[in-house]
């Protein structure tokens, strides 16, 4: 059981350009917050910052909490924040099972127990018996599911989705979206998704924020294309810092 993902006055800038103005928000476990914005607006950069892999050219400040744990001073591998990219990024030199084993928590000790856990996860995802396969032989949808399984097996306390449905065709897209949100809900972790596709935001059925880039500095506002099912911004805990 994890706590809320909370951002305190997070700002990111590149050289003199402010990408993310001071941002406060919190996402409760099981909730999905969607951050929208055109490409190059700094959405992915924010995820990099949260994940702890921000390239050195960027400057950032602010604090990040998961529950009562401050993660912003931790190394990425200690944060327990999982990221799903639009590419599955399965390690091509490892089999499907080895990919999952790479993600699976080390606390599960015996080889047998690990293999069973992996096989169970695959079976749940409709991929029973795929463990010894070369990832390159899987279809796009299968690979995407394996990538999510790998992420979840690491037992993250928060999930970051970086346009994860972008490269899938329409049919797969809807199916995989359902799969992802169902899994995320089942895991009971806060989810932050960035996308520039409104249907993704609709499917997420959560609050939406929008980055509006401007020459004098970006601003972040509650999303204009709110979905019917969306909760009020305030209840999602997102506020835009004053003065910007």
């Amino acid at each position: 059981m994890s706590g809320a993902l909370r951002l305190e006055r997070v700002t990111i800038s590149l050289a003199t350009r402010v990408l993310i103005p001071p941002l406060e928000l919190s996402i409760m476990p099981g909730e999905v917050l969607t951050l929208m914005g055109p490409s190059g607006s700094g959405k992915s950069t924010l995820l990099n910052f949260l994940g702890g892999t921000l390239p050195g050219a960027f400057r950032a400040s602010g604090r990040v909490w998961i529950g009562e744990r401050e993660v912003s001073a931790l190394a990425p591998q200690q944060r327990r924040i999982g990221i799903l990219f639009q590419d599955d990024l399965l390690f091509p030199h490892l089999s499907v099972g080895e990919n999952l084993a790479f993600g699976l928590e080390a606390s599960l000790r015996t080889r047998r127990a690990r293999a069973q856990r992996i096989e169970a996860a695959l079976a749940e995802a409709g991929l029973a018996g795929f463990a010894p396969r070369d990832p390159a032989t899987l279809s796009g949808g299968q690979r995407a599911r394996v990538a999510l399984l790998r992420l979840l097996l690491a037992a993250p306390e928060a999930l970051l989705l970086d346009e994860p449905f972008n490269k899938l065709d329409a049919a797969l897209r809807a199916e995989f979206r359902r799969f992802v949100f169902a899994r995320a809900a089942a895991a009971g972790v806060p989810v932050l998704m960035v996308t520039h596709d409104a249907t993704d935001a609709q499917a997420a059925a959560g609050a939406v924020l929008e980055i509006v880039p401007a020459p004098e500095g970006a601003s972040i506002a509650p999303g204009a294309r709110r979905t019917q099912a969306a909760a009020p911004v305030q209840s999602a805990g997102a506020t835009v810092a004053e003065g910007l």
Partner: protein
């Protein structure tokens, strides 16, 4: 834990991954290892070039060494010869390589090409030059194949086909060696561009393949191979060992003149020798400057030319010619090595016999004892310098990916300094530095001096694949809770195993090729296959040179085969990384 560092407003992002100390220092350590000897070496050349070297009585700063230098007979011819062979070989190599790549663009040059190139790439310059000298000589293989049935010659004609006064044989030798190198560099740079898609798109716009390649691919690929081209230029202008074997002797090229004076019995020749070495440096830097200016000029004209929109060219036959040229040069290279192999077992092989009349294993048997020691030294030095280079390069590249400061990255071009500064210009000074550190004549000194030349090539071989690996693999692995060390060992190294092994093999080949650094840093005490081969070549003995040259060529070749074989045997081949077509 309260993050005090986070209170400072727009502070630099806290280093997301705490970099271990050694990793943070990697570029600095690398540059220090590099710049100290080169800088000390240059100083040790500049001072005597202006008359200052107290050990042999030079205590005043004067221009006398330059006056003596320019009074030396044949100095003008020597400079001209260096320029002609160096510039000629570089220009031709570049044209041939680009022409050949354009000709084969979109078609599969295949593995055959690469496996034929490998021995020529792996063979040291000296060994190749000796074999080539035998091919081209008036009493050589080519003339023998035609004599006497076609030429009527029962004795070799008195025509200067090697060591000719115009340096043509030297130019040919440089081409045989440098074209495969540039080709390899260009092909691997092309691997990172969407060549096929670009050509298809251009074809859809009505451009034929030659025009499309020159107008679209060349401008993109040139930036990537600029440095290798500069390295070829610097090497071709200042080569010593090939020039001793294939170049004229009266006068020889500038670098050989400098070496002759450095080693003249009359030590006062040191002063003009240092001046000549400095002049050599000026020739190289000047040529690079001219080339850079040419690039800019051609780039400007080229833009207009590209914008003019002409779609058809008559270049296709020219490109085919370039491809034929590259094949011909490769054939010459392979035949040179074959000739060496034959000589190592030949007893009597006089003109005009095409094959040795008698065979003898006596040479090999007699040499088994004497070869063992230099063989061990060669392999040891090559392995140590390649390993050190690999560690430093990996350290620098990792440091860079962990968000190193930009200046540190920019200063990495200094790594290429030893490739751009002629060896003759800093090796003497470096020897003095080593002597002061009491390191001269030790294996450490030789390994260090080899590292100067091995590291840049390892960097060249590894930087692009390493940088083009999708960084999100590493990020994903980190977010899965893997430590940076585990990410490096389990994800990055296995994914990049082939480039790493190939880079190691390149390092071995470069180390085995080093002649002057071994002589200077080893104080002549450290005997490698190359010092033996060049020394024997100075004695003109093709049989012994054949043995040493073959062994020299076989080691790096073996390393290449292991690098390729080891990675081919892997279960899953790595996928093409981002950006590759």
């Amino acid at each position: 834990m309260s993050g005090t560092t986070l209170q400072r407003g727009l502070a630099p992002a806290p280093a997301p991954v705490a970099m271990p100390f050694w990793l943070r220092q990697a570029p600095r350590v690398t540059l220090a290892l590099f710049l100290a000897p080169v800088a000390a070496g240059l100083l040790g050349t500049v001072l005597p070039a202006f008359g200052y070297l107290p050990a042999i009585g030079g205590r005043a700063v004067t221009l006398a060494p330059w006056r003596i230098l320019f009074r030396q007979p044949g100095i003008g011819t020597a400079i001209g010869l260096s320029l002609a062979s160096g510039l000629g070989a570089t220009a031709l190599s570049v044209l041939l390589v680009f022409g050949c790549c354009a000709h084969w663009a979109g078609r599969q040059p295949g593995r055959i090409g690469r496996s034929v190139l490998a021995p020529v790439l792996a063979a040291p310059h000296a060994a190749l030059a000796i074999g080539l000298a035998f091919l081209l000589a008036p009493s050589g293989w080519i003339v023998r194949a035609l004599s006497p049935w076609l030429t009527g010659w029962r004795q070799p004609p008195d025509i200067a086909t090697v060591q000719d006064p115009y340096g043509l044989a030297l130019t040919a030798g440089l081409l045989v060696k440098e074209v495969p190198f540039l080709l390899l560099m260009t092909v691997s740079a092309l691997g990172q561009l969407p060549v096929a898609r670009t050509l298809e798109a251009a074809a859809a716009l009505g451009y034929d393949r030659a025009s499309a390649w020159v107008k679209l691919i060349l401008p993109q690929v040139y930036g990537q191979v600029r440095l290798p081209i500069y390295a070829v230029l610097a090497y071709a202008l200042s080569v010593v060992d090939m020039s001793l074997i294939l170049g004229p002797s009266n006068p020889p090229t500038l670098s050989v003149l400098a070496l002759q004076w450095f080693t003249a019995p009359d030590v006062r020749m040191y002063f003009p020798a240092a001046a000549a070495a400095l002049l050599q440096l000026a020739v190289v830097l000047g040529s690079i400057g001219v080339l850079r200016a040419l690039e800019l000029g051609i780039g400007r004209v080229g833009r207009c030319w590209i914008a003019a929109g002409r779609r058809r060219s008559r270049a296709a036959p020219v490109l085919r010619l370039a491809a034929v040229g590259v094949c011909g040069l490769t054939l010459l290279g392979v035949l040179s090595l074959v000739a060496l192999a034959l000589w190592s077992g030949a007893a009597g092989w006089r003109f005009p016999a095409l094959w040795p009349r008698h065979w003898s294993a006596a040479q090999w048997i007699r040499q088994i004892g004497t070869v063992a020691w230099p063989l061990g030294t060669t392999v040891g030095v090559a392995a140590a310098s390649s390993l050190a280079a690999l560690l430093l390069v990996l350290g620098c590249l990792e440091n860079e990916q962990h968000g190193a400061a930009v200046p540190a990255r920019r200063s990495l071009w200094l790594l290429y300094l030893p490739l751009l500064v002629p060896q003759i210009a800093f090796l003497f000074g470096m020897q003095v530095l080593l002597t002061v550190c009491r390191l001269d004549g030790t294996l450490i000194a030789v390994i260090w001096s080899h590292l100067l030349f091995v590291l840049p090539y390892v960097f060249l071989a590894l930087a692009d694949p390493w940088r083009s690996l999708d960084q999100r693999y590493a990020r994903t692995a980190l977010c899965l809770g893997a430590s940076p060390r585990r990410v490096f060992l389990r994800i990055k190294l296995p994914l990049l195993l082939r480039p790493v092994l190939v880079a190691a093999a390149v390092g071995l080949a470069v180390s085995i090729d080093q002649y002057l650094p071994t002589i200077f840093a080893g104080a002549g005490r450290v005997v490698t296959l190359t010092t033996e081969a060049v020394t024997l070549a100075s004695g003109g003995d093709r049989r012994m040179t054949g043995i040493f040259g073959l062994l020299q060529a076989v080691i790096p070749l073996g390393a290449y085969c292991i690098a390729i074989g080891a990675t081919a045997a892997r279960r899953f081949a790595p996928q093409p990384t981002e950006g590759r077509s």
